[in-house]
């Protein structure tokens, strides 16, 4: 390989992928290697994974436990009673996410899957998503990452995990049949009605986080009235606690607000078709193009990406009618994406998975829950798996991962990892094969001078060239 080709291979492997122990897998055409990966994400690896239908059945089967949790016996909490039931599911989901990424030969597609799963965050921080987050990724995100954004948006918005995470399952049109029924029943029983109207949480976050963006709100592109109208469009899209999965769309007409709704100056009719139409219009809005282009460029290139790159990606998105694959190809074609310095800091999850790939441990590393339990380690490093702190997802800026304690915990984990794996590994050779021309002189010198093999591996894992991409 020429020196420029090997530099491109190194950037392809680390910036756009999840690291490779040997750059020879990339070959001499780095852009071609990445472009060939564009498509639906790999099927998730692992045992005991539930699809959405079975995950909902598993949730529904907990009716008895939930009854108990409503009035926990002394000395127990609702959380304890419910947690046991989901433990196996959560472990299988987290392990599968890591194992799939560690073993994939299409790491660019896997990174895109992570990107979209974070864009459409559903988080275990909220109990209502329990048992559903893995199914959400597998069924709503993985198949749709390289098609039309509108398809991905619809799948994510209407997945039971999202409908529950952002409270839409509890939202009812104020003039819906269920509200009328509930208010009659409540009056009969002389108690407050349990369901009386709209919950606008999902509507607000789809507009602010998933499509038009907060910048658009500040610029007056949409207002509170649009949020309220969108919430009325969304009313009825729900999967009740014990309902399980019904065939077709999770829409219950009895919960839907009757009448037409006006959103962003357009009028939409009553019923489930309105959501298709609204999401189609949101997906094709220039503000959405700008938000998605900014986030993609920030994720792969720089915390503050070049405006020209963002503009280029947004215009490709709009010209292609909201197709995502042309946007990815435009990103790969951009010189800026390859020339930017490696200033992005890996997230804890990227760090741990790229370590597994570097060590050739692949998915084996995630099959055992031992001292270096990777899912727990990622949590200790500040990124509890499948449990982002808010619907905005994990931060994509280096500053947010550079706290002294966060860096210290990377040192602790790398030390422990290297103590286990380092005896049989020549970190100097591994550094050359994996980092190629990215390996700097100071790092090479420190690896050369290390006291022993485990220390050399710890230094490699913690080197700026491996921490950044």
């Amino acid at each position: 390989m020429t020196s420029s080709a090997s530099l491109q291979a190194a950037i392809a492997a680390h910036r756009f992928g999840l690291g490779e122990p040997d750059l020879s897998v990339v070959g001499s055409d780095a852009r071609g290697w990445l472009a060939a990966q564009i498509g639906a994400a790999d099927p998730a690896r692992g045992d005991g994974l539930l699809d959405t239908r079975r995950a909902l059945e598993h949730v529904a089967a907990e009716r008895e436990k939930r009854e108990l949790a409503r009035n926990p016996p002394p000395g127990t909490t609702a959380l304890q009673i419910l947690a046991g039931h989901y433990r196996a599911v959560n472990i299988a989901d987290a392990r599968s996410r890591l194992a799939t990424a560690a073993a994939t030969r299409r790491p660019f597609a896997e990174r895109l899957h992570w990107f979209w799963a974070n864009h459409f965050t559903v988080s275990l921080v909220k109990g209502s998503t329990r048992g559903l987050t893995g199914a959400f990724e597998r069924d709503a995100i993985r198949p749709h990452i390289a098609g039309r954004f509108e398809t991905l948006l619809f799948a994510a918005t209407t997945h039971p995990a999202m409908l529950r995470y952002l409270d839409n399952t509890q939202s009812a049109g104020p003039h819906s049949r269920v509200v009328a029924f509930e208010s009659r029943r409540a009056a009969r029983r002389q108690e407050p009605a349990r369901v009386t109207g709209i919950n606008e949480n999902l509507a607000r976050e789809v507009l602010e986080l998933h499509t038009l963006g907060a910048e658009a709100a500040r610029a007056g592109v949409y207002s509170q009235a649009d949020v309220t109208a969108f919430a009325a469009v969304l009313s009825g899209w729900r999967v009740g606690q014990d309902a399980g999965w019904k065939d077709g769309e999770p829409f219950e007409p009895n919960w839907h607000e009757p009448g037409t709704k006006t959103l962003l100056g357009r009028t939409y009719g009553e019923g489930p078709q309105a959501l298709h139409a609204v999401l189609r219009d949101l997906a094709s809005h220039p503000a959405t193009a700008h938000l998605l282009a900014s986030k993609l460029a920030r994720h792969f290139v720089a915390d503050e990406p070049p405006p020209s790159l963002v503009g280029r990606l947004a215009s490709v998105y709009l010209q292609s009618g909201g197709e995502l694959a042309p946007v990815y190809r435009a990103l790969l074609a951009s010189d800026a994406a390859w020339q930017a310095p490696a200033a992005k800091l890996k997230t804890p999850e990227e760090f741990v998975v790229s370590t597994a790939r570097l060590l050739g441990a692949g998915e084996r590393m995630f099959e055992r829950a031992d001292v270096v339990n990777p899912a727990a380690a990622i949590g200790a490093l500040g990124q509890r798996m499948l449990a982002a702190p808010s619907p905005a997802g994990w931060s994509d800026r280096a500053d947010d991962w550079l706290g002294p304690d966060a860096v210290w915990k990377r040192v602790e984990w790398a030390t422990r990892m290297a103590a286990r794996a380092g005896r049989t590994i020549d970190a100097r050779r591994l550094a050359e094969q994996s980092l190629g021309p990215l390996l700097g002189a100071e790092t090479a010198r420190q690896l050369e001078r290390a006291a022993d093999a485990p220390q050399a591996l710890a230094l490699l894992l913690l080197a700026p060239e491996f921490q950044r991409r």
């Binding site: 909490t77 609702a78 921080v125 409270d167 509890q170 939202s171 009812a172 509200v179 407050p192 349990r194 369901v195 009386t196 109207g197 709209i198 919950n199 606008e200 949480n201 607000r204 602010e208 986080l209 907060a214 709100a217 500040r218 509170q224 800091l345 200790a380 500040g382 702190p389 808010s390 905005a392 280096a398 500053d399 947010d400 991962w401 550079l402 706290g403 002294p404 304690d405 966060a406 860096v407 210290w408 915990k409 040192v411 602790e412 030390t415 422990r416 700097g440 100071e442 790092t443 420190q446 001078r449 290390a450 006291a451 220390q455 710890a458 230094l459 913690l462 080197a463 700026p464 950044r468």
Partner: protein
Amino acid sequence: MQPPSQPIATILQGAAESPRRRFLARLAGIGVLAAAPRLAFGGKGAPGGNRFVLVVLRGGMDGLGAAPAIGDPDFAAARGPLAQFRAPALPIDPTFALHPDLVELHAMLVRGEATLVHAVGLAYRERSHFDAQQVLESGASRPYELASGWLGRALAASGEKGIALETSVPLVLRGQAAVDTWAPSFLPDPSADLVARLERMYAGDAELATALGRARRLHLDAPAAAAPMTAASPMAGAPAARPGAFAALAGKAAEFLAQPSGPQAAVLELGGWDTHANQANPNGALANALRQLDAGLAALRNGLVAAGAWQRTVVVVASEFGREVAVNGTLGTDHGSGGAAFVLGGAVRGGVVADWPGLARARRFEGRDLRATTDLRAVLKGVLGDHLRLTSKVLERDVFPGSESVRPLALLGA
């Protein structure tokens, strides 16, 4: 922490004479304020200087759930099912009370060690969590006007350091000041030899070098301070909190602050306040968050009292916004602007500070939210000026630029 033996009503007498009365309710008949014990404060002669703690409640705490205005004539009608609590609300004065799960905080209010600031909010009046948190932490008037945090700028001005009890540095502490972060770990510290090699390797990467250097000083140069929490925590006699739980982090914050050369300011965070549904459930999200907050504030106080530092500490508890006054369609509340904040410490005046707007629909912001009549920056400017001794020039130029019209509140001293 026993409730007082004397009736609350007696404590409230004398409040009417307080100069704080001017902040108080416009509504007739609203008395306010517990009488604060006369307490000296300040660092003169004490080991270590004054200390400040910020507790950020992420998600938008429902001010009327945490501190219900039970004496407001419109309260019951405006709140509907949310006017009921699992047990009677804990009264502060004829108008205001605390949620029954805020027992420890109530005890502090009764002792005159805590102030409830109600109908407080940001200059930002939209309803986005993310923009509002950016404003809360940056100290600006609008989202993304400033990229550093007001506490970071305040510490840079005083030349002191801060600490966040989490792995990363929150926006509020970003800036030029020296900031540590700390969270419990289950792995042993790396060797000093490896760290020295890493520092050489990071010579060309200033960000990694700075973070590592700070952590090294905290862990290797003063190992006792950063050691994992032990049973001998400040909460003696109380059940040990789970490491990483809010109460455990609050107790750890007290340990850091109590050190003579410790940080001047600590930041704690607690999430779980975005209560869109089933807010009145005794085991629901709001009750759970309030119980965690209450235990954490007690752990913080106990640790600081044990170390003799409570008298020179002020704690501000604030959220990015409040919630709508009325219940939403799912027995919860949606985002709204005005809410409640708390100011705690041995040196605070205590009582209630509120320019109370009332709860009738016509009095609400946009007919929906509790109207924010006090700018949170008035609280913060008062505390930073009186307690951390920042001049008004520094406060208005560096810490809260554009806040000239926001007059600091006097919340400390007898």
